[in-house]
């Protein structure tokens, strides 16, 4: 309830701020907005409740799940395009998948298990975040090696919900980028910003090196890279402000993640691949969406 009220108040303040701004993108007065800082702090606390277990990356590696996970992430992205889902929905599905896999560490993961889990994750994310739903048959139309009966998927969904502790409103890297970036800039800047940021975020999701960072760190780094590229003057001022409200370890993580993301970005441009995992131990997928 408090979260809801806080968000509402903040949004109204944001709207006022946009009205005050003339046409100079550099001068965004909302940097000093106290309600924003409170909301941001709440989101950082909330983030901790919806993370995969520690050493999740090691677990994936030791169980040969890095590549299957990439395949499944790619399937989510294809579904997003086919069914015109929001990126918020897809990133929720990413989050549910990673949390479940790190919680229920079956001794022998097989690919069909991951596919069944993915269908359940996407189905729940759609029910939670989208206006109109999809039938379990529609979801399985394309891109899967296995098919499952509806009752099996529903049972998987219930087990998934139990595993997640029914905490579905996860803070994802996308939701942080959305809160920190999209709401601060004028609407005519959104198109470029959103498409570029989401590309970086999807790449980060596929990259096992990036998985060690929290969603907030990844989200802020992606926003930083994009602002540097699209709006250099605004970037310096804005990033300085964001850094000022973070503690030292968070700052260090963001700086490290930002450097890594910049490196990966330049490699990605050279390879002309999008949504392509760039870690050396991962097999490159020739998917060009």
């Amino acid at each position: 309830m408090d979260n809801l009220l806080c968000d509402e108040v903040w949004l109204s303040k944001s709207a006022n701020t946009f009205e005050e701004v003339i046409s100079d993108p550099v001068a965004l007065k909302s940097y000093e907005n106290e309600e924003f800082e409170e909301a941001f702090a709440v989101c950082l606390e909330k983030e901790v409740l919806c993370l995969p277990e520690p050493d999740y990356t090691k677990y994936l590696h030791s169980n040969n799940l890095i590549f299957p996970r990439c395949r499944v992430i790619q399937w989510f992205i294809k579904c997003r395009r086919r069914f015109n889902l929001s990126f918020g929905t897809v990133f929720l599905a990413f989050n549910y998948l990673d949390r479940f896999v790190s919680i229920c560490q079956c001794n022998d993961w097989e690919y069909w298990m991951l596919e069944l889990l993915s269908i359940a994750c996407l189905s729940i994310a759609i029910k939670f975040n989208e206006i109109s739903g999809l039938s379990l048959h529609e979801i399985q139309v394309e891109g899967l090696d296995y098919s499952f009966q509806s009752n099996v998927i529903l049972k998987m969904e219930l087990i998934l919900l139990k595993a997640l502790g029914w905490r579905l409103n996860s803070m994802t890297s996308f939701s942080f980028a959305e809160m920190l970036g999209f709401d601060f800039l004028e609407p005519h800047h959104h198109v470029k910003l959103i498409s570029r940021v989401t590309d970086l975020l999807v790449q980060a999701t596929l990259d096992q090196k990036m998985m060690e960072f929290r969603p907030s760190v990844v989200g802020m780094s992606a926003l930083w890279c994009t602002l540097d590229q699209l709006f250099p003057p605004t970037s310096d001022t804005y990033i300085a402000y964001i850094m000022s409200i973070l503690n030292q370890s968070q700052k260090d993580d963001i700086i490290k993640c930002h450097k890594l993301m910049e490196t990966q970005t330049s490699m990605c441009v050279e390879n002309h691949h999008y949504y392509c995992p760039l870690s050396p131990t991962t097999v490159l997928l020739n998917t060009h969406d």
Partner: protein, 184 residues
């Protein structure tokens, strides 16, 4: 009843064959016997009893044309086999008996070949059908149950570890929480 009639006709045919004088003629008559036997077996197909008992040699000759119909032969192969057995058991002449048996075994081999080739055809059809269908892999019921059971076990363990309490046994475990029993 039908078997008795078949036996009677077989004896008649053999008697006619015995009356032949020359070897060549005997061979021809043996073939005739075989043809007649086929006709007889075909004739037994009609359901009407009266028609079977009322048949004359002339009607047998008129049905010879149907012998060439392969479908009919294949269709009623079981009946022919039964007739063959009956005829064999009633043979009196050793030499004729052997020749008849050889010819019948050849015929039966042909039938077996035909039927086996049909089976091959149907097998190929099944393969074709399988190929045309899109791949629809599904895990078995057992695999699914095992997966679900393992997942639920992990969830319960996670809960027990977090709150140091075993819900199933309703017993508190060692951990950071101290559980006090309340009396309702």
């Amino acid at each position: 009843m039908e078997m008795a009639q078949v036996k009677a006709r077989a004896r008649t045919a053999l008697a006619m064959a015995a009356s032949a004088s020359s070897r060549k003629r005997r061979k021809i008559s043996i073939n005739n016997n075989f043809v007649q036997i086929k006709s007889l077996s075909n004739a037994t197909v009609p359901a009407t009893g009266e028609r079977i008992s009322g048949e004359s040699p002339a009607s047998c000759c008129s049905s010879n044309g149907s012998v060439d119909d392969e479908n009919r032969i294949i269709k009623f192969s079981d009946l022919e086999v039964e007739s063959t057995r009956v005829v064999t058991s009633t043979c009196d002449c050793g030499e004729q008996q052997q020749q008849i048996r050889r010819e019948m075994s050849l015929t039966s081999e042909l039938r077996i070949t035909n039927s086996s080739s049909q089976e091959v055809d149907s097998a190929e059809e099944q393969i074709t059908q399988t190929k045309s269908l899109p791949p629809q892999k599904m895990p078995t019921e057992l695999e699914l149950d095992e997966f679900f059971a393992a997942a639920e076990k992990d969830i319960r363990k996670r809960f027990s570890d977090k709150y140091n309490y075993d819900i199933v046994k309703d017993v508190s475990l060692e951990g950071r929480y101290e559980w006090v029993k309340l009396k309702p």
